[in-house]
Amino acid sequence: MFYGQMEIVSSESIRKNIQLMVLAPLESKMEGAVKEAGPGQFAMLHSPDDSRLLPRPISIYDITKEGFLAFIFALKGEGTRRLSELMPGSRLYVTAPLGNGFPLEEAKEKKRITVIGGGLGVPPMYFLSKALINSGSCSAEVPKKNLDIVLGYRSESELILEKEFEGLKSPDSLPDKEENGTQFFLHFASDDGSFGSKGNVLDLIRYKGIESDIIFACGPKPMLRGIQAVAQEKGIPAYLSLEERMACGVGACLGCVVKTRSVNEHSLVKNVRVCKDGPVFLSSEVEL
């Protein structure tokens, strides 16, 4: 975890109320932050606005070739709106990387991996998918594996990153598929059927008969609840990235807890911290 200044390299609206912001390290320690950052982790962006004093937790969408941190966030309120108005060249304090991230090592021994993103839960799954495709997902025992990426949206008008996910296929963005040993399939669903299959991601998975040995997911709570139920039914691990209102982001304030099914060994009560113990939890551990 590092705290320091970064510079806004670019900031643009990629869709109504959705911002893509790319930050470059200004201090060398922040290069360390980039180096350590993994899929499913997040950063705290500290707004320079003195009336909005809580930093905003934003999941890392990508690390660019230049070694910059890329974020995609929704303009949900004044705080994120103000962040979005900062001009390229502005400086910003950032705490990163934070949280546990997705356990890539758990995918090593699994043959069929399913990555699910819903709505604003899609961006961190890009970083994860890239990591799963590029490295870390193969082992001697499982030389060949399937990666199903399932992305759900409300409708075509709310699509994000569909081109970037398509781009994961292009040979210049990843090593040779055969050598790497991971074959992947991209699926789209939308609630109104305006893009991809009609229905939600679980409808799509059922309809296409996608089978999984492990699931990674991020998205709205009803979607995560559905995945939790499926994982329990099939007895497979599902790692879910959760959201809660946060203040500190580092495990200090206990603002962002979620309920656990049994007493947690750190808190000694049925609470875990999304910021520090999560944001990624095994679906069998938490109450949603």
Binding site: S51, A247, V250, A252, G255, V269
Partner: protein, 311 residues
């Protein structure tokens, strides 16, 4: 006198003391904003703090409130954590050794749902080495029993002070609630029953409503307001308390800079704690300490104690 000696004299003395405990500088964190396991040790060097103040510690584990527990407000925030904590035994086994490792003073904040729980925790901690002081939370607005119920009635505050005073040899600090008509009366109640110091202010009881969903924003309904928003009220209360009692005061409430800390000390505080701004700027404790030093140098003040209560 040699030039060298003069150069040494330029560096102002930051040491302050409260109830006989000496702090290398007057800057500490406010309870609850800093974790109990050195959560910020990757950002700042905790040995440079005047003291580390723990989160509230109760006799048994407390689950706290539902979520959302926090909300942003203009130049401030609300919280309703509800003093979630793993209980005193886990604190002693697991957290205290870590905190002691940072090599500065340790103040343990204690809380209870009843007089009996306050008594039990203070008794349990009374003989523990490495704990310099106890801070008694009688002002948390987010727990139904205990907490603020003791902190807004001078009679009850006297009672809890007296009870704890009997159970522990450690110096005790009573942390006062600002949700009162007279902070002076509360400080007097603490003083009269043998408190060694008071700290103020805790948070203001506040409310935020989600108007679209027509429900409280925080799961607890109300929450405690803190941050720069309420700093000017905190300064006034520190001033009033300082003029009401002889006890040393730890001043807190929205401190965001060395200037804010100096203001608190001029109003009468012997030390200061930084709370909400820890989230906004994780390096703040060290920033404040350095800004205090720079102010003293600028103004040619050799010792921080010269400015305590000068107003």
């Amino acid at each position: 006198m040699s030039v060298k000696n003069e150069a040494v004299d330029v560096s102002p003395k930051l040491e302050t003391s409260i109830a006989g405990i000496r702090f290398q500088n007057p800057v500490m964190n406010a309870s609850g904003t800093f974790g109990n396991s050195g959560e910020y040790s990757q950002v700042i060097n905790l040995k440079d703090l005047g003291a580390i103040v723990t989160k509230g510690v109760s006799m048994v584990p407390w689950e706290g409130n539902g979520t959302p527990r926090v909300a942003e407000t203009p130049s401030g925030m609300m919280n309703a954590i509800g003093l979630q904590n793993p209980g005193v035994e886990a604190f002693l086994d697991r957290d205290l050794p870590v905190l002691r490792g940072f090599g500065t003073k340790i103040i343990v904040n204690i809380c209870g749902h009843s007089i009996e729980e306050y008594e039990a925790v203070s008794e349990r901690l009374s003989e523990i080495e490495g704990i310099d002081m106890l801070e008694v939370n009688v002002s948390c607005p987010n727990v139904k029993e205990g907490g603020i119920a003791f902190g807004t009635d001078p009679g009850k505050l006297s009672l809890v002070t007296r009870s704890i005073r009997k159970r522990t040899k450690k110096p005790i600090i009573l942390k006062l609630s600002p949700n009162v008509t007279s902070i002076a009366d509360m400080a007097r109640a603490a003083e009269s029953e043998g408190a060694d110091a008071v700290s103020l202010i805790n948070t203001f009881t506040a409310m935020k409503i989600d108007i679209r969903q027509r429900k409280f924003f925080l799961a607890n309904g109300t929450g405690g307001l803190s941050g720069p928003a309420i700093h000017p009220i905190a300064v006034r209360m520190v001033y009033e308390a300082a003029h009401a009692v002889k006890l040393p005061i730890i001043g807190m409430g929205g401190i965001a800079s060395g200037a804010d800390a100096i203001e608190m000390m001029m109003a009468g505080a012997s030390a200061v704690a930084v709370g909400m701004m820890q989230f906004s700027r994780p390096s703040i404790l060290i920033d404040v300490k350095n800004q205090i030093r720079d102010f003293l140098i600028d103004e040619g003040i050799g010792d921080i104690r010269e400015i305590i209560g000068i107003l």
